[in-house]
């Protein structure tokens, strides 16, 4: 039936293809496609699968380095960590599905990224997630946050993969379009990495996992379109996850991957069976034939169109050597998974699919995979920047009471402790989590070695809004700084670029600038970008989100015992600051909370200074000179100091004296970059000071750990004196008070 439907312009439009794209299909094929074929083109040429807007920019990123085993282009990036092991990691978005159905959307996002990791032959050992929600007072925000967090928790917990960190921001720009970016990292033997390539003519194509249902048909096209009021009607396209099946799939895959007759494997993500089979065949430069009727099906009466485009979860496509089919089937059956031989590798570059013995798809593979019209989208500097780029703070009032101001910031959900969230995640399973969530970076031991990995994900969208180039640089810098505060050397970057509609030249300009910033800083720091993901069309009714290039950094510690955390460890320790404070309030959380605006310039970033500060911090940790290190980020110096007071073995006060001529609020709450709060014993002071001097990094002693009060003096005047337990309660419980409310 489906192959006989005539293709009208309406049908073409419904598939999200432009008339030019359709003309190109006709030209490439030399005929009209049938409906199944059109559906395949539609999915494969969607922004989501083809990267048609973003690719020219992504090509500029640095992707190579001595440690890189696999850069972008596969399911995940792979970096050598020595001892014969490799770290396999990637971050991916599930924004649109999570807005429509937060629980399932987030859950399947986690499931998808984990499959990307174990598809490569790696056992996932840690997850992170980066979340962006709307204004906390917006009517949907609480519901969306709770649903997303529960979805991540239920899926990750059931998988037995610890969720060890992430970041969460709240801003009205996400009211109509939240962001859910999921990161996963796995470990594999460096010489046993599996790729998504279908080589070896005659080899068997194996379908394994859950049965195919009618879920998420058009998911790839949906996530490549803006939201409008009709989004509601698209709801049934949401997929539902089954983490139990995925757990079985994980164990079965890792078991079968011990065999040397496994040729290639790819998970079925966006555009399901179509993208996985076409991409695998394309990488091998070969062809493929598929028997649609052999595909395990959940519902009766499914047709080729639905089966080729379904986005049912927990499915994989394997290529195994001819003659090994029965061995493969036996392993998957042991794990009670649905499995079937569904096709063969052929030699002619054509993809053929048969339904009821009749050919319903006959497409040249290369054409489908690489033939999408590249769009050289025009860019233009956004008009808002002229207006928003200026900020005259002399007209803004100073806080009347700095203690109260600090309390308000500690209660702001973007700054408040995320314990409410990470307590719902199993962050300990597999016994590798050396540093639990709640410090700058999570630290995981690498089993059976003396090494550890540190992970952090970051992006301040307000900085990116005010200057996407600097904002993206800061995102990389901050993620690296977090990892350095844990004692690790950054060795690889992955990124998830969340932007609005690329057809708008101003959005495209944001995109181009952010990619440029990301590339420049990674080049300067000499860290390769090994994987990533692009999510465009993040807007509702023409309102785009702030540009959000989320960055995840993986760092390596050669000696796991030399890791560091952010909390003050002991009364009497001295508190110091590495780096330099400027009068900068543009794009800060303080500006948002107190003046309800986001304008001016983001904090300055000098890459050279940043690198020196990070190296110095690492050096001090490795020489065991300092007992804590904490990056100054949202909320500035005062918040960073308070957080270090809350997060040690037990809450402890501090006595701080600052001297400076700048505005009090900028000194306390400004977000100048390249600053790290450290603590150390009195005896270490001379060494700490001389190391800093040698490194050419500004260093000052700010005060001392101890007591029950959090006190700050500026130029000898006490401006903050608060009970540490009162501050801690505000910081620790604000988010749970918010989350546990109903209306």
């Amino acid at each position: 039936m489906t192959e006989n439907t005539p293709i009208t312009p309406e049908i073409v439009a419904e598939h999200g293809l432009s008339p030019e794209e359709y003309a190109r299909i006709q030209e490439l094929l030399g005929r009209d496609p049938n409906l199944v074929e059109l559906g395949i083109f539609s999915a494969m040429w969607s922004e989501h699968c083809s990267y048609k807007s973003s690719r020219p920019h992504l090509k500029t990123l640095p992707t190579e380095g001595p440690r890189v085993i696999q850069g972008p282009g596969e399911n995940a990036g792979v970096v050598d960590i020595g001892d014969g092991l490799a770290a396999v990691f990637k971050i991916e978005s599930h924004n649109h599905p999570s807005f429509i159905e937060p629980y399932q959307g987030a859950a399947t996002g986690v499931g998808g990224i984990m499959r990307d990791i174990f598809t490569m032959g790696a056992r996932p050992i840690a997850s992170l997630n980066s979340l962006r929600f709307g204004d906390p007072e917006h009517e949907k925000t609480r519901y969306l946050m709770n649903g997303v967090v529960k979805g991540i928790a239920d899926y990750g917990n059931c998988m037995g993969v610890p969720t060890v960190g992430g970041d969460i921001y709240f801003d009205a720009c996400y009211n109509g379009n939240i962001l859910v970016n999921a990161f996963c990292l796995g470990l594999a033997k460096a010489d046993r990495i599996f790729l998504g390539s279908a080589s070896g003519v005659g080899n068997a194509l194996l379908y394994v996992g859950s049965k195919t249902g009618r879920d998420g048909i058009h998911g790839a096209s949906m996530s490549s379109a803006e939201f409008d009021d009709s989004t509601e009607e698209k709801r049934p396209t949401v997929q539902v996850g089954d983490p139990f099946t995925e757990k079985l799939l994980l164990e079965a895959c890792l078991e079968i991957m011990k065999e040397d007759w496994v040729v290639g494997v790819q998970d079925m993500g966006a555009a399901g069976l179509s993208s996985s089979s076409f991409e695998m065949a394309e990488r091998a430069g070969l062809g493929m034939e598929l028997d649609i009727d052999a595909v395990p099906q959940r519902e009766e009466g499914m047709n080729a169109y639905e089966i080729m485009l379904s986005e049912s979860q927990e499915r994989m496509l394997f290529v195994v050597e001819k003659g090994k089919e029965e061995d493969a089937l036996a392993i998957f059956r042991k794990w009670d998974l649905d499995v079937a031989v569904v096709g063969r590798v052929t030699d002619d570059g054509i993809f053929r699919a048969k339904e009821n013995g009749k050919e319903v798809v006959n497409l040249p593979i290369q054409t489908v995979v690489t033939g999408a019209l590249k769009c050289d989208r025009p860019t233009s500097k956004p008009a808002y920047l002229a207006e928003m780029g200026t900020l005259d703070i002399s007209s803004r009032e100073l806080p009347v009471n700095c203690g109260d101001a600090l309390k308000r910031l500690l209660a702001a959900p973007t700054i408040a402790s995320k314990q409410y969230v990470y307590e719902q995640y199993d962050h300990m399973v597999r016994l590798n989590t050396l540093v639990l969530p709640g410090s700058d970076a999570a630290v995981l031991r690498v089993p059976e070695t003396n090494k550890a990995l540190a992970l952090s994900v970051d992006c301040n969208p307000r900085y990116c809004y005010l200057d996407p180039y600097v904002g993206a640089q800061i995102a990389v810098a901050e993620a690296c700084r977090n990892v350095a505060c844990a004692g690790a050397d950054p060795i690889g970057v992955t990124n998830c670029l969340n932007f609005g509609n690329p057809e708008n030249p101003e959005i495209m300009w944001q995109f181009q600038e952010a990619v440029r910033g990301l590339g420049d800083l990674c080049r300067f720091f000499d860290i390769p970008v090994v994987s990533g993901n692009v999510s465009l069309y993040n807007e509702t009714k023409g309102e785009a989100i702030y540009p959000t290039p989320t960055i995840a950094v993986v760092g390596l510690l050669n000696d796991l015992s030399l890791h560091c955390t952010q909390g003050f460890k002991q009364e009497g320790h001295l508190i110091g600051l590495l780096g330099f404070t400027r009068e900068e309030l543009g794009g800060s959380e303080y500006q948002k909370v107190f003046w309800n605006e986001c304008r001016g310039k983001p904090p300055r970033l000098d890459p050279k200074t940043e690198l020196m500060v990070q190296r110095l911090c690492l050096n001090m940790i490795h020489q065991q000179l300092i007992q804590s290190a904490h990056d100054c980020s949202e909320g500035g110096l005062a918040v960073a100091l308070a957080e270090s007071c809350f997060t040690g073995p037990k809450p402890v006060g501090a006595d701080i004296g600052l001297s400076d001529g700048m505005r009090t609020d900028a000194l306390l709450f400004g977000e100048s970059q390249s600053r790290i709060v450290i603590s150390f014993s009195e005896e270490s002071l001379p060494s700490v000071a001389s190391l800093a001097k040698e490194a050419g990094v500004p260093f000052s002693v700010l005060g001392r750990v101890g007591g029950q009060q959090f006190k700050i003096k500026i130029n000898q005047n006490e401006i903050i004196n608060e009970n540490i337990l009162v501050l801690e309660d505000i910081w620790k419980n604000s988010l749970s008070r918010y989350g546990n409310r109903v209306a």
């Binding site: 239920d154 059931c158 990470y422 962050h427």
Partner: protein, 232 residues
């Protein structure tokens, strides 16, 4: 000394228990597949945490019908020592080897965190290395850990000293604030009448590797080892 860890589909703390018993405590440790049968060769058995069968329907409800559970029940009835941790506890309760049930946490949320427990009876094969009243620091990780039993059952548990652990604060006092999930009478772990089967919601294997400062969890495994040595 030979011990076994049962692997159900969806178990995910099996690997952690294995690591502690095999690599930290150097026992002869074996995997036991849920489709296997027969356990006579083992000195004790661990049912690990996780989400057997996805925790679908009720945690432990489907796992109790795994082929291996017939053997576990026989083994227990013959006096074999069985330790159920978290999901393992839920399976033991569903299978009737331990009384009561484990329900949704009172707060309706999954909780993963470190907390403190009080040892209520150190005269069992699972607690002999502890002292009664001792406070242990052990993490929990569950969405359904609220212990419940009817009044008669609770009375029998208490009369027969079957409550082995209660949630408490750092000083060892029980209170609603120190009870993470609303468990009846603050119960965190119980044994059967003859004390050869024990279930607990907290995860001793998560604090038994000397890589971390806290190794309180070792006390439970070491108790099991000691008592098994005495037994053979």
């Amino acid at each position: 000394m030979k011990c076994g860890i049962v692997v159900f589909p969806g178990s995910n703390c099996d690997h952690d228990c294995y690591h502690i018993l095999k690599h930290v405590l150097k026992l002869d440790t074996h995997w036991i597949w849920h489709k296997d049968e027969g356990l006579d060769a083992f000195d004790f058995i661990v049912l690990p945490g996780g989400f057997s069968y996805g925790d679908y329907l009720r945690p432990g409800a489907i796992a109790r019908f795994s082929p291996i559970m017939k053997s576990v029940i026989d083994y227990a009835n013959q006096g074999g020592r069985v330790l159920g941790i978290c999901n393992g506890f839920q399976i033991l309760v569903e299978s009737g080897l331990l009384p009561g049930v484990l329900m949704d946490n009172a707060g309706q949320k999954f909780i993963c965190k470190n907390l403190t427990l009080r040892v209520e009876n150190s005269d069992t094969p699972f607690t002999s290395q502890c002292t009664t009243g001792q406070v242990l620091s052990i993490p929990i990780n569950h969405g359904q850990g609220r212990y419940f039993a009817d009044d008669d059952t609770l009375k029998r548990l208490k009369d027969n000293d079957q409550v082995l652990f209660r949630y408490c604060d750092a000083e060892g006092n029980t209170s609603d604030a120190a009870n993470p999930n609303g468990s009846l009478d603050h119960i965190a772990g119980i044994a059967n009448e003859s004390k050869n089967v024990m279930g607990m919601m907290p995860h001793p294997e998560r604090c038994a590797d000397p890589l971390w400062r806290n190794v309180d969890g070792q006390l439970i495994f070491k108790s099991l080892i000691e008592s098994s040595l005495a037994h053979t």
